[in-house]
Amino acid sequence: MKILVCISNVPDTTTKITFTNDNTQFNTAGVTFIVNPYDEIALSRAIELCAGGKGTVTVINVGESATEPTIRKALAIGADDAVRIDAAPRDAYFTAFQIAEYAKEGNFDMILTGRESIDYNGAQVAAMVGGFLDIPSVSIIKKLDYDGTTATLEREIEGGKEVVTVTGKFVASCAEGVAAPTIPTMRGIMSARSKPLVVVAAQPIEEVIKVVQFETPPARGTVKLIPAEEAANLISLLHTEAKVI
């Protein structure tokens, strides 16, 4: 079994988000980058499925050389080898196309991603990879089992879940529940240094979208405090003042 896991290099969840260059670029100064938390879930499940010599896990990242520490972290978690497509991931369409081009040659049984990245929150790459490869994709799954030929996936839907089976190659984006993120062991960290990390050139594709400006949300007003003993007043305030109930 061969599994390809797509990982994104994202700012740590505690990062204060600021922008430079007239609010057109994310300010990376002093920012710690991590493996996108959702991608860690996908990676952990892939490692579980391949445990005991059942298969190999390759991680792929579309990024410039600065993302290599993040890729090494994925290798420390337990991936067998890694690929970096040497380009800035300008948007999901570009990123998915690069992954699909690489995957075409790799004969992977499944391709996993996280449900979304915590920077651009696109939730697009998995389904776009499926689209470029013309294979099934299932987005936002909570559970993944695989018997060697057929995958059984639980997909989140509004107010419930859907169970889907797929036979043959597929792409899925993973959310909480699929696996618990794996903490790298010291042995994993040491062995990550010697695992293969191949760098591949990006393929050209037309530009379909670009970010022209970032904005930060306006500051909220000051809180109106209601004494605990007068808690009941909140209901009338929500009705008459805020007009939300």
Binding site: T13, T14, F19, P37, D91, Y93, A96, I118, D119, Y120, N121, Q124, V125, A127, M128, G130, F132, D134, I135, S137, S139, K142, E156, I157, E158, G159, G160, K161, E162, V163, V164, T165, G168, E176, E207, V208, I209, K210, V211, V212, Q213, F214, E215, T216, P217, R220, G221, L225, I226, A228, A231, A232, N233, L234, I235, L237, L238, H239, A242, I245
Partner: protein, 323 residues
Amino acid sequence: MSVLVYVEQVEGKFKKSVFEAVSYAKAIADKTGTSLTAVSIGNVADNELQELGKYGAAKVLNVASAELKNFVNQAYAAVIAEAAQKEGAEIVVLSNSFSGKGLAPRVAVKLKAGLVDGAIELPQLDGGKFLVKKGAFSGKAFAVTELVSANKVIALNPNAFGVKESAVTASIEAFSPAVQPTDLTAIVKEIVRATDKVSLPDAELVVSAGRGLKGPENWGMIEELAGLLGAATACSKPVSDADWRPHSEHVGQTGIAISPNLYIAIGISGAIQHLAGVSSSKVIVVINKDPEAPFFKVADYGIVGDAFEVVPKLIEALKAHQA
């Protein structure tokens, strides 16, 4: 030329988020001087399809094929792309629902289109540019994006635009797209839906609780408050990590990002990761016994007090209000 909106049905009915998407697509059609066509896939009765006219869909393409009864991403994307080509639609609008998140990217690939997912405003047509705003960095920022491709796909966030009536009479047209068997290899085996619960992602009102509740056995009052309000229930990450509540209720940076009209946070301190997922809420109420809880800094209304004393008072007041 027209705008196409995909209208997602649930058991033959359309939810409010669909009428929002139709209203939004109609506003784009008006802005660009074109008409609006809706495409529906699955078994939906004509009277339900007619409802779409209320919000501006002049034409409805109805795909009522048995093999497309259940949502299959690949096949539905092919149908929507074919409908767009049939109608000469350069702009396709969908709801940014769980299914929409899986569908919109595939439609974008089929149409070689740029996609804005989670749009929160109408597009700005600025000097020939087509600009759409969406949330980024898990609610900590917005990104204004330009769709530079000829075809464009937009997935609209729930509660972002509202429902706007624009009465026309919808003409319903049967549509039989060419579905390839290879598009139907993912098979839906089972659908489990809690019909008595308000769905969290598109809920207008949300009651959320955190570790301050001390244990899963204390959620009864949260459920009761949510029930009286007609609200969805949610929780913080530590609560879902401890299995007090299901992961599907976890809101925040690594859970679901929501944008309800009202978010009531009970016993949640307001870590940066939690705030990221809820900061788009129109009104935030925080109930916490710690006056220094960071959540109070972004709240509109706050009560410094013990949840076990405050929530029952709110329940009583709400019952009196509704009497």
